[in-house]
């Protein structure tokens, strides 16, 4: 078990390293940092001086090592925008807003998705089942920016119940969390419904019924545990969906998180910040997958045996 975890950690480090290389290469290919940093009135001499200062006259591998060494020290360079803020500092300051939004969206998504999936499965073929399936289908086909705008229009503009955008107390979370979570919510609902139906038709559920166990216990004690295994499997994908969704949702709702920071820094061609955002997101993604691994071990004894 410990060996398994150590293995996963090593994999994670390799993944991070690879990601840093990709980021490094991309930033060299996409933009010319010198052109970005120089003012229009700069002379050729200024230009050469800046190249030397940034180390761009060095061979590529040298530049990468420098980049890596700086990154390890927490130095990702400075934002090229007027404030010249430290890139890592900037990204980290935006992190809490994103994490709290994603955390709430994920929690809400899991709880409601599992409930709806179970409900649909146990009422299979009835109106309740049909309604849940229809909602799930809509949730998976609606683009999140459109959904966000519709929700703002209905609840904020028309009804005036919730703020249109911005960051603040609990009420500010409702619409962005809904928008961010709805696709995943629909996906989890469908997944749980399908795997619950499979479990409810299984032989071990029949054996539970043979024992005379109540229908509640059959559903909660026997079918549910097994049908959560595929949810855990897809958890990594759900995280990815949320991260990409965060860029759109935070932009639509003017949410001061790293999703919007990513959007802004791309618009401003602010490479140091883009690089940092991508690396931080990658680190979180890897961490999330490690957590999924642990969840797997907790829920499925067959995995415990294998590792």
């Amino acid at each position: 078990m410990l060996k398994h975890l150590a293995g996963r950690l090593a994999e994670a480090l390799v993944a991070l390293l690879l990601m840093s290389l990709v980021i490094f290469l991309l930033s060299r290919v996409i933009g010319d940092p010198v052109a970005l940093l120089l003012s229009d009135s700069a002379t050729e001499a200024d230009r050469q001086m800046l190249i030397a200062q940034l180390g761009l006259d060095q061979p590529g591998w040298r530049q990468y090592l420098t980049f890596l060494g700086n990154a390890l020290k927490g130095d990702f360079g400075q934002s090229v925008t007027a404030g010249r803020e430290d890139a890592l500092h900037l990204v980290l300051s935006r992190l809490p807003a994103s994490l709290s939004l994603a955390g709430i969206a994920l929690l809400f998504t899991l709880v409601v998705g599992i409930l709806l999936g179970v409900l649909a499965a146990v009422t299979r073929g009835t109106v309740a089942d049909l309604a849940v399936r229809l909602l799930a289908l809509l949730g998976q086909s609606a683009p999140s920016f459109w959904l966000g705008i519709m929700l703002i229009y209905l609840f904020a503009v028309k009804l005036g119940w919730l703020p249109t955008s911005g960051f603040g107390g609990a009420v500010y979370y409702v619409l962005p969390a809904l928008t961010l979570g709805l696709f995943t919510l629909a996906a989890i609902t469908r997944l749980v419904r399908a795997s619950m139906l499979e479990a409810l038709g299984s032989e071990y559920v029949k054996l539970a019924r043979i024992k005379g166990v109540s229908e509640w216990a059959v559903v909660l004690r026997h079918a549910l545990g097994n049908s959560l295994i595929p949810v855990v499997t897809f958890m990594g994908t759900f995280f990815a969906t949320m991260i990409t969704g965060a860029v759109v949702v935070e932009t639509v709702f003017a949410w001061p998180g790293i999703g919007r920071l990513a959007y802004e820094s791309i618009m401003a061609r602010d490479f140091p910040v883009i690089q940092t955002v991508v690396l931080v997101i990658t680190a979180f993604f890897i961490l999330a997958n490690l957590i999924v691994d642990l969840l797997y071990l907790a829920i499925d004894p067959r995995m415990r045996a294998r590792s």
Binding site: R124, G125, G201, S202, E203, Y204, K206, L207, A208, R209, I210, K211, G212, V213, S214, E215, R221, H222, G225, N226, I229, I299, D300, P301, R302, A305
Partner: protein, 325 residues
């Protein structure tokens, strides 16, 4: 005469509610006396498992919706009784060992959890001691250790015995065994059959024993019912059926049993294949494959009683004694 423990009348199971939906079971009737073991024999697809599961209302929702007839347990109809009452019959009075022992245990729960769930419903107090005793009864070595294990850590024979222990945990009066030996290899099959006989005696149980193997029938059953295409075509005491099978299908099945008494796994006994659900012919469903068939056989044959306790559905009973072909 005592009343039957289980009395099934005209049990018909269709795939769905509609009256013209294809049927898996067609007007099945049988009686089971207290303490008696009735064998249910037939080729794959004849509806044996569906019959066994119907007794505990375990068939899928489509099939339960299409179930008609009467399954009387000590006089009460299982098909119409409220769920709450049924729950107390399940496990406590009627229990079942399912056909697939590998899939019958919950993969994410320990053996102990699954066994104790049954024991608790059976009113046992000291659950861990009772669980160890239950595993010892089915000859599982070092039971305390096994209770902490998970299903995937055990062999097929071991799982089969654990499933049996769960089935017996509430001391039922009837145990339905659905091909309990098919998944096991030959020597373990024999051991397991002997174990079941010992358990039957210790718990004073009646048994409904589903198998496609006449060798197994000879070892453990008192009476046998032969099924073909969703119908019971012949019933009688085991000795009588072995000595004087009267239905052409029973005769053909018996003729194909090798003298070792062990039928191979899924033996193609008779020329042709049994008709699939939805494609069963009118009249006697066996007529396309039957050597004795006549024009009569396009009408459904009535049930007749040849001798006391020996009934069959056939226009042309084969009265002469069975000869090994």
């Amino acid at each position: 005469m005592t009343d039957p423990l289980l009395s099934i009348r005209d049990l018909t199971v269709r795939v769905g509610k509609r009256a013209d939906a294809p049927s898996i079971l067609d007007k099945v009737s049988l009686d089971l006396m207290p303490g008696e073991t009735l064998g249910l024999v037939g080729e794959s697809g004849s509806g044996k498992s569906t019959l066994g599961m119907s007794v505990l209302r375990l068939t899928s929702p489509t099939l339960t919706a299409g179930t008609t007839g009467r399954i009387a347990w000590k006089g009460d109809d299982i098909l119409t009784m409220p769920n709450r009452k049924l729950r107390h019959i399940r496990g406590e009075e009627i229990s079942m060992i399912l056909q697939d022992p590998m899939a019958s245990l919950n993969p994410v729960q320990s053996i102990g959890t699954q066994l104790q769930e049954a024991l608790r419903r059976g009113g046992k107090r000291n659950l861990s001691a009772a669980a160890e005793a239950a595993l010892s009864e089915v000859n599982i070595p070092s039971p305390a250790e096994r209770l902490r294990a998970f299903p995937h850590q055990m062999s097929g024979g071991m799982r089969q015995r654990i499933v049996s222990a769960i089935g017996l945990a509430q001391d039922p009066e009837l145990l339905i065994c659905d091909e309990p030996t098919t998944a096991l290899d030959a020597t373990i099959q024999y051991q397991f059959l002997e174990l079941l006989k010992a358990l039957r005696a210790a718990h004073h149980m009646a048994m409904l024993f589903i198998t496609h193997d006449f060798g197994v029938v000879a070892r453990i059953c008192d009476r046998v019912a032969v099924m073909y295409a969703g119908r019971i075509v012949e019933t009688g005491p085991v000795a009588e059926i072995f000595a004087r099978p009267a239905h052409p299908y029973t005769k053909a099945l018996l003729a194909s049993v090798p003298s070792t008494g062990h039928a191979p796994h899924r033996l193609p006994v008779i020329e042709g294949a049994p008709p699939a659900v939805g494609h069963r012919p009118e009249g006697c469903p066996f007529h396309p494959r039957c050597a004795a068939a006549s024009a009569h056989c396009r009408q459904a044959p009535p049930r007749t009683e040849l001798r006391p306790g020996h009934t069959l559905n056939c226009w042309h009973p084969q009265e002469h004694p069975h000869e090994i072909a």
